[in-house]
Amino acid sequence: MLDVQHLSVWYGVTQVLRDVSFSVNEGSVVALLGGNGSGKSTLLNALSGLIAPKSGSVRYLGEETAGLEAHQMVRRGVVQVPQGREVFADMSVDDNLELGAATRSNLKEIRRDMGDVFDLFPALRDRRTRAAGSLSGGEQTQLSIGRALMSRSKLLLMDEPSVGLSPRMVDAVIDAILRLRQRGLTILLVEQNVGVAAAVAGQAHVLKDGVIAYAGRAKDLINNPEVLASYLGR
């Protein structure tokens, strides 16, 4: 579904990603791991069109998409769930979901998709009129995922959904991703938490200093102390 070849990204004179290549198959969950400053969020931003890569190719469903802007990517079904959730704190849950459909115009379909999101995350249904900022961290994560789904996304780019959550809430996030996987959604998941990656992802790639340093099955990572120690600082 997504095929990244020799991708390089620079911030001014600093090269952040060097010659990164990997692919994501349709219906799979792929994890991108790495410590702080390893370039994983940059990679996600480059794929979602928030920043432009300097060289390399990103093919999505057979189409070259490197250099397209975020709004063009969203129209093609590639949506990022931003780090730190970024829900619209002062607005209601309903309004947040509606804003996820900012690129769509058919209100009837939008309503129906909102119903789907509530089926996926029933906790949100009970809080429809509550301000998003008053939700718990886990619920906000669910809301930010639901909001991304509202644009009818096919490929979800998730940037550290587990960050800053209590262990119980991390379980809720894992559960949510598993349910999305069950629905056939393709997910590229950026994480620092190896546990989350191992629980939901098939393949995993470890980034270190802008280079893919390890690629393999996510489950094997947990039992690979060498990788954990040298690349993830554990």
């Binding site: 802007e69 969203v74 002062d90 607005m91 900012a102 961290g137």
Partner: protein
């Protein structure tokens, strides 16, 4: 019909505009003039609220754009001999074009910096109106020719009133529709988090330009009508105090609310008329209202309507907190409001 349905935004607006439509039958000349001003300020406040309240762009150029609409319309008649009916749309579109250009600085600047740069633009406009005397006639202003209603047997001030009424109704219905559309949702998303908005597929340049274009067109149209209402145009009608009036209207009424614009504009025109004999107190009262509301009720009067009238809907308006929360205005001075997540750690 259920009682709830009676106290809706729609019935409020229908009632108000119904009353304004029949007003000329009972009004003397002064009341008619005040009614006309009310309509003009409803246009101005609705336009500014699109930009500030919905799209979250803290711009201070509305009064200047209003002036460009008025000058454009009146000068086309004076210098080129156009009729009002040809000059007014061109004046409004001219204001829109110039206002849209302000979206480009807005792409890089936000909050206080956008406020300052648009304020500088407004002052530069004032300077041009004062000093480009061969075209604008300078500080003293000039008379705009009376509007010709041709074969329609109506006194000009009544004619202007009904034209303004019709334009206001059309623009309000348009605002209502567009704020409930994809465009309105994109504006609100942009207001409440540019990064989140971008990742949801909202092209910031397009939507900022659209917000500036819409609000400038409203201001330009109001300016065109104002030049016809007064028959006289001068720079001081479009100065900083005028800007404060517009801003106070949307803050008092309710940022990001269509009814809020109408409510704020109607109320403050009334206050303005109460104080007409004490002109110097107007600035103090408007300034105080603006500051007072920003501090104590930043979401405006519609908050009370939302709280007390169960049938009242404010789609996409801030989700009615019991206590005043960070608004667009105060939020932009504080920087990122998205960091305030009171309950994030509660889990």
């Amino acid at each position: 019909m259920r009682l709830q349905a009676l106290v809706s935004n729609r019935s409020f607006l229908t009632l108000l505009f119904g009353a304004l439509l029949v007003l000329p039958a009972f009004a003397n000349q002064y009341t008619l003039f005040v009614g006309n001003l009310m309509l003009l300020y409803i246009i101005l406040a609705s336009g500014l609220n699109i930009l500030v309240g919905f799209a979250g762009q803290l711009a201070f150029a509305n009064a200047a754009i209003y002036g460009i609409g008025a000058y454009g319309t009146a000068l086309l008649q004076v210098h080129l001999g156009w009729s009002f009916w040809a000059a007014a749309p061109v004046g409004a579109v001219l204001a829109m074009v110039i206002g849209t250009l302000l979206a480009f600085p807005a792409l890089r600047l936000s909050g206080i910096f956008l406020a300052l740069s648009t304020l500088a633009f407004a002052q530069a406009t004032q300077w041009v109106l004062w000093h480009w005397q061969s075209v604008t006639f300078g500080a003293g202003g000039f008379r705009a020719p009376p509007v010709n209603f041709g074969w329609i047997p109506i006194k000009p001030d009544y004619g202007i009133y009904f034209v303004t009424w019709a334009v206001t109704v059309v623009l309000l219905l348009f605002t209502w529709r567009i704020m409930r559309s994809r465009i309105g949702r994109a504006f609100v998303a942009m207001r409440d988090g540019e990064i989140a908005a971008q990742s949801l597929g909202i092209d910031l340049l397009t939507y900022k330009a659209m917000a500036f274009a819409l609000s400038s067109f409203y201001a330009g149209a109001a300016g065109a009508l104002y030049s016809a209402l007064l028959g006289f145009v001068s720079p001081e009608g479009f100065d900083l105090f005028q800007m404060i009036i517009h801003k106070a209207m949307i803050v008092v009424g309710g940022l990001g609310s269509v009814v809020g614009s109408v409510l704020g504009a109607s109320l403050l025109v009334y206050v303005m008329e109460l104080l007409r004999e004490f002109k110097s107190t107007q600035e103090i009262v408007f300034g105080a209202l603006l500051v007072g509301f920003m501090v104590f009720q930043p979401n405006g009067l519609v908050v009370f309507l939302k709280r007390w009238l169960p049938g009242w809907r404010e789609p996409l308006h801030l989700a009615g907190h019991a206590e005043p929360k960070a608004s667009v205005l105060s939020g932009s001075f504080k920087g990122a409001t998205s960091d305030e997540r009171p309950a994030a750690e509660r889990a």
